[in-house]
């Protein structure tokens, strides 16, 4: 993975000093609350319901063992010995003290980490596929470009205070796992007909209050121009995006108001001036950064491993885990492994300090000292030999990291919600936990098969509820917490946004509502259909009919 040189190190060190002074000025009363807000936000510090929340950047989801050990130490020293992995592939600490945050950042800087631009109205963490570099269907490893974009966007002076947050995702696979259509800018890397690296550029996607899938602004962009083209897009947005209403300030609203054709015309006019400007990427720079992402020193292995096959045959628990948690690898004899942060009955995405140390050790011992965070809020060991999988499973299981539910109903994507987040309309974690308890039967979960259930505590949609096969959104009705349910959302190449099934429900009703949706699916499915297929084929009606069958329930439900 990318390693800092003195220049990178100096930038994060200087950031620590700058931030330390900002906190000092705030505590000394030299900065008002309002003045401090944009400064702390640009450094990932929110003031939450209970305490501040600090969001630490994990650029495109990559971590080294050393970094994860440090995160485990920081969580123990400054927090309650756990952290929360978010849908942006970042790590959030829920209970740090404001006074401690400069020290936390100083500790992070010792392992080449920071919290720069993890919130606030600026270009956020660049995200990508958690299987980048190892996926068999990968056309281009997008991580070098992600790193180049990360550096370009770090303290970009022109884009320091945008109308609203700005998210960029990159992907390089046929099967888009980075959800590029859901981002302010999405870059899909491919090899063009001249065998050159090129980019298909999407713009204006996003979830939140007004969910919109991005539109293609350019089918073909030579890779050298990635930064200048982004500059053209962000400049048009910076100058013309709305600043009078935070809910209408994302670039998607501007693209929609202008229409993609007019927006594109303005961007291209701008780009005509910027094309070939100094920020154009050189071959040498791409080669330098790409060196950090060269293939691991893999051993030559046969595609099969007898000990692995034997363990699968003799140990049903291991076999069940392997079925859900292993992913194909482009190198024979290797697998990528997802470690579940979704054991039934705890907050999705949470990891204790002890678990972080354990995973860091596993990565060290079995996966070249590196790991990834997925936007589904799990941890990935990307390069494990078949012959090591049984040992990995045993150790992971002993620490609650081997729930065989990856991709199943209880592998819930869930935002922190009302337990922590001051913007929330409703709690989300207890809903996830209640659903996990309702479906605490692995055979049944396997029978239901692949399904994505996503929960957000408010329209900001950090839990990506719009693209959940089942989506749950917390809504506020006269001060009490209700939940709106949608079905038919999907991420990936054939992304779609879910449709709301009807009036919302109370927290207590939620497990049975999900149960009823599943009942309809199990009854109506054809042998080859997953939940999403049945939902798409039949539409909302039969699901709605069954869920609201009980008339009293329908009456109690509140339209929102």
């Amino acid at each position: 993975m990318y390693q800092y040189d003195e220049i990178d190190q100096k930038i994060v060190d200087e950031r620590v000093a700058q931030y330390r002074d900002q906190v000092r000025r705030y505590l000394a009363g030299e900065l008002s609350e309002d003045e401090f807000r944009p400064l702390r936000l640009q450094n990932g510090l929110y003031i939450q319901r209970q305490a501040p929340m600090l969001r630490i950047a994990v650029p495109y989801g990559m971590l080294s063992s050393r970094q994860l050990h440090k995160l485990g130490d920081i969580a123990a020293k400054y927090d309650r010995s756990y952290g929360h992995f978010s849908t942006r592939q970042n790590l959030q600490l829920n209970w740090p003290k404001l006074e401690d945050t400069p020290d936390i950042l100083a500790e992070l800087a010792t392992v080449e980490m920071h919290a720069i631009q993890t919130s606030g109205n600026c270009i956020r963490n660049i995200t990508t596929d958690q299987f980048a570099g190892v996926a068999p269907d990968e056309i281009v490893d997008p991580r070098a470009m992600a790193e180049i974009i990360r550096q370009w966007s770090t303290f970009h002076p022109e884009f320091a205070l945008l109308p609203r947050k700005f998210k960029i995702a990159v992907s390089g696979t046929k099967d888009d796992r980075a959800v590029v259509q859901m981002h302010d800018i999405g870059m899909e890397f491919y090899i063009d007909t001249n065998q050159q690296l090129a980019i298909k550029v999407w713009v204006g996607g996003g979830l939140g209050r007004t969910p919109i899938l991005g539109a293609v602004i350019r089918e073909h962009l030579e890779w050298q121009h990635a930064l200048t083209y982004c500059e053209a897009i962000v400049r048009v947005y910076n100058l013309h995006g709305r600043r009078d209403n935070a809910y209408k300030a994302r670039i998607k609203i501007l693209v929609k108001a202008l229409g993609i054709e007019e927006f594109k015309r303005q961007v291209e006019t701008e780009w005509a001036h910027l094309k070939d400007a100094p920020n154009t990427i050189t071959e040498a720079e791409l080669a330098r950064v790409a060196k950090h992402f060269e293939a691991m020193p893999y051993e030559t292995k046969p595609a099969q491993d007898a000990s692995f096959d034997a363990a699968i045959a003799s140990n049903p628990a291991f076999a069940a885990w392997a079925k859900r948690s292993l992913h194909a690898h482009k190198i024979a004899g290797y697998r990528a492994v997802t470690l579940s942060l979704k054991p039934h009955g705890t907050a999705p995405g949470d990891a204790s300090s002890e678990q972080m140390h354990l995973v860091a050790d596993l990565a060290e011992q079995y996966s070249f000292g590196e790991l990834r965070v997925s936007h589904e809020q799990n941890l990935i060991l990307a390069d494990v030999k078949l012959s090591d999988l049984f040992a990995v499973w045993q150790k992971a299981r002993a620490h609650g990291l081997a729930t065989p539910n990856i991709g199943l109903l209880t592998d819930i994507i869930c935002c922190p919600g009302g337990d922590f987040c001051s913007l929330a309309n409703a709690k989300s974690i207890p809903i996830a936990v209640a659903i996990q308890q309702q479906f605490d039967n692995l055979d049944y979960l396997h029978d239901i098969g692949d399904i994505e259930l996503n929960i957000s505590g408010c329209m900001n949609a950090c839990g990506h509820h719009h693209v959940g096969h089942i989506g749950i959104l917390g809504v506020d009705k006269d001060g009490s917490e209700w939940y709106q349910v949608s079905i038919g959302g999907k991420q990936g190449n054939d992304a779609s946004l879910g449709s709301v099934i009807g009036p919302s429900f109370s927290a207590e009703e939620m497990p049975s509502v999900v149960q009823k949706l599943i009942d309809v699916y199990l009854k109506e499915r054809t042998p080859e259909e997953l939940f999403i297929d049945t939902a798409r084929r039949l539409g909302v009606a039969p699901f709605k009919a069954h869920v609201y069958l009980d008339k009293s329930l329908a009456k109690e439900g509140v339209a929102v």
């Binding site: 930038i11 900002q22 966007s153 002076p157 022109e158 205070l161 400049r235 100058l239 013309h240 709305r242």
Partner: protein, 201 residues
Amino acid sequence: MSNLIKENAIANDEWTLVNLPASQVEERKQAGKVVLFKLTGEQTVTDEQIAGTVIPTTGKVIVPLSVYVAQKDTLKSRMNAGSAGIWLDTHEALETLISNVDDINNLPIIAVHVERFADGRIFSLGTLLRTRYGFRNELRAFGDVLRDQLFFLKRSGFNSYLIRAGRSAEEALASLNDFTIPYQGAVDEPSPVFKRYNRVV
């Protein structure tokens, strides 16, 4: 003590900022979809405001863009004599400024007013004035200008900063140098770091 920073030092302010009188038109909420400039919901300057603007007859003045456009025949000689500059708000179009001056470098100063700290349009305006329109003279930021914008303002082409009243310009000076080696090319240093240094793995 002056609250003006020019280049890298505290300086005396020799310019008088000419303000528009308050608008009499009641503020209306914009519907927000009609045309582009209305998307941002800002008020446009009224004819009454322009007519009611009082410009000192002597000394160095910075006049509002809208006033300059309305009275450019009378203001041009002062401008060419180096004693009149123009200021604009972050929501005003640079094209208006450009199409109303013969040569932008006849202006001794352009000032950009930023009403709120969080309004980052000022950075794009500075960048465009320097790179697209080739402006070489004093480029000033004023309004809600605080020390934590300075580094970005400097990199966006500004070389003059009027720190908001009540804040120490002396202390703000330090922030011009918050970072020593920025990654990306911008106005003050067009080359990105990978073209300035030989970064080997």
